[in-house]
C-alpha cells in the first residue's frame, strides 16, 4: 500500500487511528504491529513470513547476545546478522549475479528472476543495527517480541525507510502517553510530505520518464531530465520520510529527520550529512567505523570510504550502475578529504555549491539509468553529439505545468537560505508552512483523484 493513495487515506489510516485510540494502552503496540503486517501483506501476503521470520530471528538472537558477556558476543552477533543478510543477498542480488554469470557464458539455464520483497533493505538494516547495538551494549535487548516487532515493522517506515534505529524508539515502545500537540505536529508533517510527493514529485515523473527514454537526447534534454529527476527523487523521498515521521508522531514514536536541505550543500561531505541521513549514519556507524574509519591513517581511511560508499551504492539496487554511483560519491568524499589534508584553501561558497550540485546531478544520471546502455545514451547526449538545445522529442513531453513545478521545486530548495539569513524570516517561513499544510494536502488529495497512484521511488531499494 502507498501512503499517497485513496486506500491509505480513506481506509487504512482512519481505521488504524480509530482502533489505536480505542485500544487499551497495553495493547497499542499490538495494534500497530497487526496493522503494519496487514499493510505489508497488502502488497503480497506470500512475503509476510519472510519479514516475520527476520523479526523473530533478530529478537531471539538479540536476547542470546544480551545473555552473553560482552567479550563473548561475536558468535551470536554473526548468527544474528546471518539470516537477515542472507535474505537480503538472495532476494536482492541473486538476479544480478545470475545475469552477470549468464552474460559471461555460465550455464545457468532456466534461471527464474526473483521478486524483491519491498522494503527488505530497510528492514534488514534495522535488524542488523539492533543486533550490533545490543552486542555493543549501547541498547538493552528488548524482552517483548511485540515491542521489538513493532519497532521493526511499524508501517510508517516499513517499506521505504528511514532506517530506524531501536534506540530512537526504545523508551516510547515501553510506555507513552497521547500528546495532542505531538499528534497534531505528526498530522502536519504527514500532510506536508503527502503534498511534496503528489504535487511535486509525481507531477515531474512523466517528464523524467520521457527524458530518460529518449533515444537521441541533446545536452539540454539530459540537463533538464536530470534536473527534473533530482527534484522528483528529493521530493518523493523527503516527502515519504516526512510522512513516516508524521505517522510515527501520531502514535507517539519519534523518528529522526532524514533530510536537511541536501541541495544547499557546499561540499559532497556536507551533502551526505544532509541526504538520506538515516542511511549515511547507518553506513558510518555499522560499516565505516568497524572498517577502521578515520583512525587508520589517510590512505586507509580513503579506502574505507570507497568500500563504504560502494556498498552503500549497491544497497540501493541490484545493478552495477548503483555500485558505480556509490563509488562516484566515494571519489567525491575522498577528493574533499585529500583537499583538506593537503591544506588547500576552501573554495568560495558559490563555487563549492555549484561544484557539489553538478557532481550530485551527474551521479543522478548513473542512479536513474536502468542499464549501462541507457547511461551511455545520456552521456552521449550530454557531450552535445545530438545537439545542444532542447529537442522536439523532449519539448513534446514538456508541459507548462512541468516548468512551473521545476521552478517551484527550485524555489523550495533555496527558500531555507533566507531563513538562515534572518531568524524573523525563518519564523515566518515556519508559520507559513504550518498554515499551508492542510490546503496543500487537500489539493494533493484532489490531484490524486485524477491520477494513477505513483509508487515511491525508494520502494524499489
Amino acid at each position: 500500500m502507498v501512503f499517497a493513495s485513496d486506500s491509505f487515506i480513506f481506509l487504512f489510516l482512519p481505521v488504524f487511528l480509530a482502533t489505536y485510540a480505542l485500544a487499551p494502552a497495553a495493547w497499542r503496540n499490538l495494534v500497530i504491529l497487526a496493522f503494519s503486517w496487514t499493510f505489508y501483506a497488502w502488497w503480497r501476503l506470500d512475503f509476510l513470513p519472510l519479514i516475520v521470520s527476520i523479526a523473530v530471528w533478530s529478537w531471539l538472537t538479540g536476547l542470546w547476545i544480551a545473555a552473553r558477556p560482552p567479550e563473548r558476543r561475536r558468535l551470536p552477533l554473526i548468527v544474528a546478522i546471518l539470516w537477515p543478510l542472507l535474505a537480503l543477498v538472495w532476494f536482492k542480488y541473486a538476479n544480478l549475479f545470475a545475469e552477470t554469470a549468464l552474460s559471461l557464458g555460465a550455464p545457468l539455464t532456466g534461471w527464474q528472476a526473483i521478486v524483491l520483497p519491498i522494503g527488505l533493505s530497510f528492514f534488514v538494516f534495522g535488524a542488523i543495527s539492533y543486533s550490533v547495538d545490543v552486542a555493543r551494549g549501547t541498547v538493552k535487548a528488548e524482552p517483548s517480541f511485540i515491542n521489538y516487532a513493532t519497532y521493526q515493522s511499524m508501517f510508517g517506515h516499513l517499506v521505504a525507510g528511514p532506517v530506524v534505529r531501536y534506540e530512537w524508539v526504545a523508551e516510547r515502545l515501553k510506555a507513552r502517553a497521547f500528546d495532542r500537540d505531538e499528534f497534531a505536529l505528526g498530522v502536519e508533517r504527514f500532510m506536508l510530505g503527502f503534498a511534496q510527493k503528489v504535487l511535486l514529485a509525481d507531477t515531474l515523473a512523466p517528464l523524467v520518464d520521457a527524458g530518460f527514454s529518449l533515444s537521441n537526447p541533446s545536452a539540454a534534454d539530459v540537463g533538464l531530465s536530470v534536473l527534473a529527476y533530482a527534484l522528483q527523487l528529493y521530493f518523493d523521498f523527503a516527502g515519504y520520510s516526512s510522512m513516516a515521521i508524521g505517522l510515527g508522531l501520531m502514535v507517539g514514536l519519534k523518528f529522526h529527520e532524514n533530510f536537511d536541505n541536501p541541495y544547499l550543500s557546499f561540499s559532497i561531505t556536507e551533502f551526505w550529512r544532509r541526504w538520506h541521513i538515516s542511511l549515511s549514519t547507518w553506513l558510518r556507524d555499522y560499516l565505516y567505523i568497524p572498517l577502521g574509519g578515520s583512525r587508520t591513517g589517510l590512505a586507509r581511511s580513503c579506502v574505507n570510504v570507497m568500500i563504504t560508499m560502494g556498498l552503500g551504492g549497491l544497497w540501493h539496487g541490484a545493478s552495477w550502475t548503483f555500485l558505480v554511483w556509490g563509488l562516484w560519491h566515494g571519489i567525491g568524499l575522498v577528493w574533499v578529504r585529500l583537499w583538506r589534508a593537503v591544506g588547500l584553501p576552501v573554495p568560495p561558497v558559490l563555487v563549492g555549491h555549484v561544484a557539489t550540485l553538478l557532481f550530485v546531478l551527474f551521479g543522478w544520471l548513473l542512479f536513474r539509468a536502468q542499464t549501462w546502455a541507457e547511461f551511455g545514451v545520456m552521456l552521449h547526449g550530454l557531450s552535445g553529439a545530438n545537439g545542444w538545445g532542447l529537442s522536439d522529442a523532449l519539448g513534446a513531453a514538456l508541459r507548462p505545468t512541468h516548468l512551473l513545478t521545476i521552478a517551484l521545486g527550485i524555489a523550495l530548495v533555496y527558500v531555507p537560505l533566507a531563513g538562515r539569513a534572518s531568524p524573523q524570516l525563518a519564523a515566518k517561513g515556519r508559520w507559513l508552512t504550518s498554515w499551508s499544510a492542510l490546503p496543500l494536502w487537500l489539493a494533493a488529495v484532489w490531484v490524486l483523484q485524477g491520477r494513477t497512484v505513483v509508487p515511491f521511488l525508494y520502494f524499489q531499494f
Binding site: 485513496d6 480513506f10 501476503l45 495532542r180 502536519e188 504550518s434 492542510l438 484532489w446 483523484q449
Partner: protein, 359 residues
Amino acid sequence: MRDHRIVAAFLFLACCVGGLVSVAAHLSGPAGRAVLDRFSWQGILTGSFAAAFDRDVAAGAPESAALNGFVDGATYALLKDAGAQVRAGCPGWLFLAEETLEVKGGASHLEARARMAGMIAADLARRGITLVVLPVPDKVAMTPETSCALAVSSQARDRLAAWHAHAAKLKLNEIDVTADWPAPGFLRTDTHWDVSGAAFAAARVAAVVRRLDGEGKTQVTLTEGPDHLRPGDLMRLANLTRTASWFGPAPDTVRDISADIARSGGLLDDAPAPDTVLAGSSYSLNSGFLESLQHALQREVVQRSEAGGGFSGALLALLDKGPEALKPVKLVIWEWPARSLTLPLTAAERRYMEIHAHD
C-alpha cells in the same frame, strides 16, 4: 501555531473519516459484491486482489467533478496546459499528445507493423481479397498553422514517411492523403478529421478502388443535417467540457452526414451482400467517413471499424472470425491512424505475427 495545528489535525481526521464513509457507501453497493466475487486466496497471496480493491476504493473516494473541471479549465486558460494526454495549440485548437511524443522502441514497432501489413496483405490475397490501406496522418502534421509551433518529436514527424518507404517495398495499395489536403480538415477540439477531411480521404480511396475494381453501381445519396455543437474527444480527455464557456475552448460546430442507399433488390429483395468492408479505427466512425466513402465508391460498404482499434484492432478481429465470415468480401479498406505505427504492439498483433511468421 499550536491551536491552528490542532484545528488542522481535526479537519484532516474529518476528511479521512468523510472519505471512509464515502468509500464504505460505495462498497456497500454492487461494487462491494463485485469485490466479494473477485475474492480468492491466490489473489490475496500475490497481491492482485488488493490491487483491484485499491481501484474499488479509489472509485468510491469523494470527488467533485465541478471542482475538477474548474481547475483543469483554469490551468488550460492560464498556462495553456491541457493535461497529460492533450496539447494546446493555437487558441481553441487541441491535439492529442500521442501525436507529438517519442515512443521508446518506436522504430522497431513500426518495422514490425510493416512486416505485419505484408503478412495481412498476403493472407487476404490468398482468400481472393484486395486490400487497400489508408493511413490517416496526424492532425498536428496536417494543420501546422493551427498548432502554434507545438513541439513534435522527430519520430512522430517522420513515421509516416518511414511507413511509406516500407509500403512501397511491400507494393501495398496505399492511399496517400497528405497531398492537397483541404486544410484544416480536422476538428478543433477533436482528434478526428472533419467532414471535409473525411470526404477528401473518401474520394482518394475511391479513386484507387475504381482503378483496382471498376466503378460501383449502387446509388448513394448524402444528406447533411443541421449545425450543432459537438465538444470533441480532446475536450473530454482534457476535462474541459464543463468549463468551456468560461475558459475555452469552444466546442466545434458540426453537421451530421447520413447516406441513403438505393438497394436494387429483386422481387424478394434478395440484394447480394456487400462485398466491400471498412475495417478501421475511430476515424472511420467519425465525420461521415463511411457515408462519404459509400457515396464516392457508389457501392455499399460494411462497417467493421472499432473505436480505439488502433493500427489493426478491427482488421484482426475480422480475420479472427475465420474464412466463412469473409466469404462474400472482395475488398477490404484498412484505415488506421499514423500515430499508432510507433506504439508498442498489442497482444493480438503479436499473436498474429507469431501465427503467420512462416507463411
